[in-house]
Amino acid sequence: MPSNLITAILYAMVIAAVYAIFYYLNHKTPLPKGCENLKVECEGCKISSCELHPSHNIKEEVHG
């Protein structure tokens, strides 16, 4: 295996780990008071996989 490829794999692992750490820290940080129910008023596109698509709210209400 060429050393260049090993470097690339190690590098990818490092930046992915950095992202994972910041993701964890961000989700661990408590929301400020009064910001618990903030939602973006997005009704734009039809990409239902987007987490902001209104269809996700409907599903939550149905299951919740």
């Binding site: 590098y11 930046i15 961000n26």
Partner: protein, 191 residues
Amino acid sequence: MSELFSLFLAAVLINNIVLTKFLGICPFLGVSKKLDSAFGMGVSVIFVIVGASIMSYGLYYLVLVPLGIEYMKLITFILVIATFVQFTEMFIKKYSPALYKSLGIYLPLITTNCVVLQVALDNISNEFNFIEMVIYSFAVPAGFMMVLLLFATIRERLETSEIPEAFKGNPIALVVAAIMALAFSAFAGLV
């Protein structure tokens, strides 16, 4: 100096990222119903693009090029943008609740905004120096914000206008966007 001004003007008006390359259409349509939301989104996009571009530019020339792994730039830039957004969200959550209340909700949406990645890639493919990179990274989102604000004011007026049933909502918004793109094409010979 005049070259930098030309670069700025071209990125804002002539090669406006929304109206010429059709990038960032999702937030352009989704967060343009109210002027307040459009303003918040625009400010957040400027902040994230400038920050993420500086970080990705530095990583490319200080890490990827010396290691000879330039082909890793795409995965690097995607992760840099995502990391920067997470860091920014965490920082303003902790130290500026008021700012989080007005801008924080737009930050996760920006991660999926393809304009951010396009600017980071443009900075490398155009071989900009540091100053040019900063100017370009500010100009592109400034153009995005300007068009978003213009579009939001038009859409607010459309809410109270008489529109045929079939055109209500996104169809009339796309017609307006097409007319704006035509209008902006008149700037082509400016610089």
